[in-house]
């Protein structure tokens, strides 16, 4: 689904993504974990065609990509962290979902919108609401529905649950798991939360200062087989606070 070789992305003179290579097979879920400023979101933005200043070779869904050409088409869709920021506050759900269909010249919008809402666990009652009339979890479901309505093969997920409460986060994680199973989607998930990545992905990379410092399967992560010291530090930190023994 994705083949990236020597991917480097710059903001001016600084390389925020520095010589990163990875592949994602069709139907696979790949996670990228890192802290703020590690470059993980920029990798996703390059994949989505939102960040244009990059070099290296990149093949997405069989099509070689060039920088400064941002078309990815309907096969690649993205879900952002904050559904309140990514949904137009003055557009009702129906309009948010109709727009990608109109852009791509797809007919029978009404049926597709109904189906997309149903797929994410919403119903007709939510269709004519504004984002502010929905809860955070419902808004994120709408954002996922908007991505799904074009029947993509690859979903790019940028911290899709980190603005949500734990119980809502659990619902969205379950929804994403089910959707991937049913529709054989590929995911690239970016998150600072190792546990969320472990639940949703098959394989992950740990990113720091623009580079991949470790790449492993989730099974290896769970088994505690991380060798890279920074990965171990992240693992320790995500297990909660540990009081140091004071003498």
């Amino acid at each position: 689904m994705i083949e990236a070789r020597g991917l480097t992305a710059r903001f001016g003179a600084t390389a925020v993504v520095d010589d990163v290579s990875f592949t994602v097979a069709a139907g696979e879920a790949f996670g990228i974990v890192g802290e703020s400023g590690s470059g993980k979101s920029t990798v996703l933005r390059v994949l989505a065609g939102l960040h244009q200043d990059w070099s290296g070779s990149l093949v997405v869904d069989g099509a070689p990509q060039e920088c400064h050409r941002s078309r990815r088409g309907r096969r690649v869709q993205m879900v952002f962290q904050d559904p309140y920021g990514s949904l137009h506050p003055r557009h009702i759900v129906d309009r948010a979902l109709a727009e990608p269909l109109a852009i791509n010249g797809i007919a029978d919008a009404t049926t597709r919108i109904t189906l997309a809402l149903r797929a994410v666990g919403l119903d007709g009652a939510h269709r004519f609401r504004y984002p502010h009339q929905l809860s955070g979890g419902q808004r994120q479901r709408v954002a996922i529905a908007r991505a799904l309505i074009l029947e993509p093969a690859l979903l790019l997920l940028d911290e899709p649950t980190s603005a949500l409460d734990v119980s809502v986060q659990a619902e969205i994680v379950a929804l994403l798991q089910a959707l991937r199973r049913e529709r054989r989607l590929s995911y690239v998930l970016v998150s600072h939360n190792l546990a969320v990545v472990a639940q949703l992905c098959d394989r992950l990379a740990v990113m720091r200062e623009g580079r991949f410092v470790a790449e492993m399967t989730v099974a290896a992560l769970r088994a505690g087989n991380a060798e890279d010291p920074y990965t171990r530090e992240l693992l320790d930190a995500s297990r909660g606070y540990r009081r140091r023994k004071t003498s």
Partner: protein, 259 residues
């Protein structure tokens, strides 16, 4: 058993006709108390009620709200001002919004200190430098002169903690103090908070949505749901919590160990 540092009984915070906090009661000594809950559970309002710092339109009532024997319900605004910062301190989530963007961070700590203690500018400066060192900022002299935009989030939060701890408060209320920080930085800030709270023998109320954090950091935990305390237990016993809501929260956490 020492006298309680803080007593709260039947605290209600009302907005118009709806109650955001519905009859919360607890007492604490100089311990680490965690308050856990999801958005809208009333955990932050409970913390702010202790300082009587509520948003406009909120009405507070309680049968008792006392800090170290002082009746906070009867206290005049001037008395509250004398308590806030000096004996009751508050650390908020995001240092970006709680630091003054156009003032050097060191001067902000010195200013906070002088607001509560009689000190010359010179002494306040020395105190601010000592506090920066206490929260393990390297080169405190250099950092003293920086503005908030020149420091990282983790450093900003350490500056906030330094500022709040400078007047030697008896109770620190920390509302999601590390939620805006990266995990590894979170651990550093928590270690500093932990050390300072132990060293000064202060009380700490840690308000958080993070069950694991409260379970591992605090002595005792309260779980709030829709304005009520539904569970109160030793923090270490949270894993074995009895209330169905707490159990649901526990089950909802993404786990590294199991799918």
């Amino acid at each position: 058993m020492s006298a309680p540092l803080l007593e709260v009984s039947d605290l209600v915070v009302r907005f118009g006709a709806s109650d955001a906090v519905r009859g919360v009661s607890f007492a604490m000594t100089r311990e680490r108390l965690g308050i856990v809950g999801e958005s809208g559970s009333g955990k932050s309002l409970t913390g702010r009620s202790i300082l009587r710092l509520l948003p406009p339109g909120a009405r507070l009532s309680a049968t008792r709200l006392a800090f170290d024997g002082i009746d906070l319900l009867a206290a005049h605004e001037a008395e509250m001002c004398a308590l806030r910062g000096r004996r009751l301190a508050l650390v908020l989530q995001d240092p970006k919004f709680s630091l003054n963007p156009v003032m050097r961070v060191g001067d902000q700590i010195a200013e906070a200190y002088r607001a509560h203690r009689r000190a010359s500018p010179r002494e306040a400066r020395d105190k601010a430098l000592a506090m920066l060192e206490a929260v393990r900022i390297r080169e405190p002299r250099h950092v003293y002169d920086l503005h908030p935009h020149e420091i990282s989030g983790g450093m900003g939060q350490r500056v906030m903690i330094a500022m709040m701890l400078a007047p030697d408060p008896d109770l620190l209320i920390a509302d999601e103090p590390t939620s805006a920080l990266d995990v590894t930085v979170q651990m550093q800030v928590l270690a500093i908070l932990d050390e300072e709270v132990s060293r000064r023998r202060m009380g700490l109320i840690l308000i958080s949505h993070d069950l694991d954090l409260v379970a591992s950091f605090c002595d005792r935990a309260l779980v709030m749901q829709q304005g009520r305390i539904v569970e109160s237990c030793a923090a270490g016993a949270l894993e074995a919590a009895q209330h169905p809501y707490t159990q649901r929260l526990l089950a909802a956490r993404p786990r590294l160990t199991a799918p």
